[in-house]
Each structure stands twice: as C-alpha cells, then as structure tokens.
C-alpha cells in the first residue's frame, strides 16, 4: 500500500488533540510537561468536557500552560493553585476544575494550600509533576530532590544535615481523608504514559462523583536541569527516582 493511501483520518491511531492549541510549547526538548499537557488535553477531549473545564496554572516552567491548553485557565501565584481552584470549584460546582503544579510550587511554597485543599476534599483534580528540581529558575534544589543529587543550590549533592530530606508529599496526601484517589505514575515509556493517561482520566471522572480530591503525581524528568539528554534523563529517573517515588496507586476509593 502506498503511504499516501494510509494517511487518512480513519487510519489515524495517534494524532494531535484539538484541545491543544497550535502555539508551540516553549518547553525544552523531551520535557515531561509536554507529555502531560497532551494527556490532559486528550482526556478533556475524550470526555467531551472542553466547555466545562477550568484549569489553574502554577508558577514555574508550566506558567504558560494557558497558551497551550484550549480550555479556560487562571494563572495562580506561586504555590496557591489549590486555593484558587478551591474557590472556582465551590462557586462553579458544574465545572471540572484541575490544578497543575510542579514540585517547587506544590510541595514547597504551596505545601499549606495543597494539604488543606486535599484535607477539605475539594472536588478538584490535582496534577503534580515531580522532577526533583526547580526547572524554570535554573535547576535549584526542590523539596523532592534526592539525597546526593546535585543541583544549582546543592552543588556538592543534597545532604540531610544541610538541606533536609526528600519530601514524599504524595504519601502524606494519601493519608488525608479528603482525598479519594491518590496515585503516582511516570511518563517515560509508551506503556507508562498510557497508564498515566488512564489515571488522569479516572481523576477527571471522579469529579462527577464528587467524593473528594483526586491527585495524580507524575514522576518526570528535567533533562536541562539534570544536564542529561532526554533519553538518559529517563534512564536516570528509572534508576534513581523510582526507589524514593515508586509508581502505583496509593489510594483509590
């Protein structure tokens, strides 16, 4: 069969969802943010909820998420996305409200807001990207930075005496009675990405049930911050991150 005969809409198995805008994403090559943006957009398209989804962007690399997602979005102050989403959700109970935050935004400066939003059981979807580093500001230590990991502010490696320990915030979140679904996934292989998409979809579906906060951590890479190629970053993640941040469901009610 000629190639041109194959290229028909009915034969398309993977394509670009219309819920992603045309604007090229500013992320570095191989960035996990792009993958997860795409997955959220695909879920919104598949569920037919583009007109009833409101997202909240963080401060960090994904600050401009509203340029890429073709849904209504609010840009929150650093760490405050769960508070912003709380009000949007409570005042617009017919909407699917999600937050999107990185590890610095959510697990450091925004630790109080995420804990209390989850503890109140806000009917929102929380997407948490954990790449163990501050990407946008140039690769400084994050709360999730691993022991020994070299960053711009731990140039000799993270040392507990000096910098404290990696924060397993997802394990803390899972203990909060307000959460109904807490899971940790990754985005390094086609199979892992398909699982992550299923998790995001389940989280959005939970909004319809209104039984608590759904929380999806995606362990991701920061090739630029880690100073590795995208494929080596994935390998580094598998070898180092998964031990501290094992993938799988922590809670599913």
């Amino acid at each position: 069969m000629e190639v041109n005969e194959m290229i028909k809409p009915e034969n398309l198995v993977v394509g670009r969802t219309s819920v992603l805008k045309e604007c090229p994403m500013h992320y570095c090559p191989g960035c996990t943010h792009g993958v997860v943006h795409k997955l959220i957009a695909e879920v919104v398209e598949e569920m037919g909820i583009q007109d009833s989804t409101i997202g909240v962007c963080p401060v960090g690399c994904s600050v401009f998420m509203y340029n890429y997602m073709d849904v209504d979005m609010a840009e929150a102050a650093h760490g405050r996305a769960p508070a912003v989403a709380t009000a949007i959700s409570r005042l617009n109970p017919d909407k699917y409200v999600f937050t999107y935050q990185g590890d610095g935004d959510m697990a450091s400066i925004g630790c109080a807001e995420i804990m209390h939003a989850c503890n109140r059981g806000e009917n929102i979807v929380v997407i948490f990207i954990n790449n163990a580093i501050y990407g946008m500001t140039g690769g400084q230590m994050a709360p999730t930075t691993l022991l020994g990991q070299i960053t711009a502010t731990t140039p000799y490696g993270r040392e507990p005496k000096l910098h404290g320990y990696p924060l397993q915030i997802t394990e803390l979140i899972a203990q909060l009675p307000g959460t109904c679904y807490v899971t940790r996934q990754s985005a390094d292989t086609p199979a892992a990405i398909r699982k992550t998409k299923a998790a995001i979809k389940k989280a959005f579906m939970n909004t319809r049930r209104g039984v608590g906060t759904s929380y999806v951590e995606v362990v991701g890479t920061c090739a630029s911050g880690w100073k590795l190629s995208p494929e080596n970053a994935n390998e580094w993640m598998r070898q180092n991150m998964f031990e501290k941040y094992p993938v799988g469901d922590l809670k599913d009610i």
Partner: protein, 75 residues
Amino acid sequence: MAKFIGTVVVDKDRCKGCNLCVVACPLKVLELSVGVNVKGYHYAEMKSPDSCIGCGSCGVVCPDAVLSVYRVKAE
C-alpha cells in the same frame, strides 16, 4: 493474528529533536535527520518506513504532539 502496516507523519518544523520517539520505537523505524528544521533541530524522520507497524508508541511519547501515526491492516 492480523498484521499491520503503519506510517508516521512528522510535523518537522515543530519537532525539537528530543529523540524520545526514536528510543520508543520497537522496530527502529525512526531516526533524527541529518539536516535541521527552521528551529535548528535535527527532526525525527522515518529511516525504515517499511518496518512501521503503526503501533503509535512514538506518537504517545512525543512531548510536543508533532507525530501523527496511521495504521492499516496488511493486505
């Protein structure tokens, strides 16, 4: 079991040459181009199109959603 053939269409000027699709392809169909696109990246292209089964793995891992994967049943 039915066999499939597939093909990948690359929106080459949006490709950032991260190489993740090349790694993800189980049949080593893709590689990065020798030349560069308008952004200066070596973009993904099909090195051995005949091997493609349209599994979609490359498209799934692409962070910039620049790959479209088509698949048909082999005659």
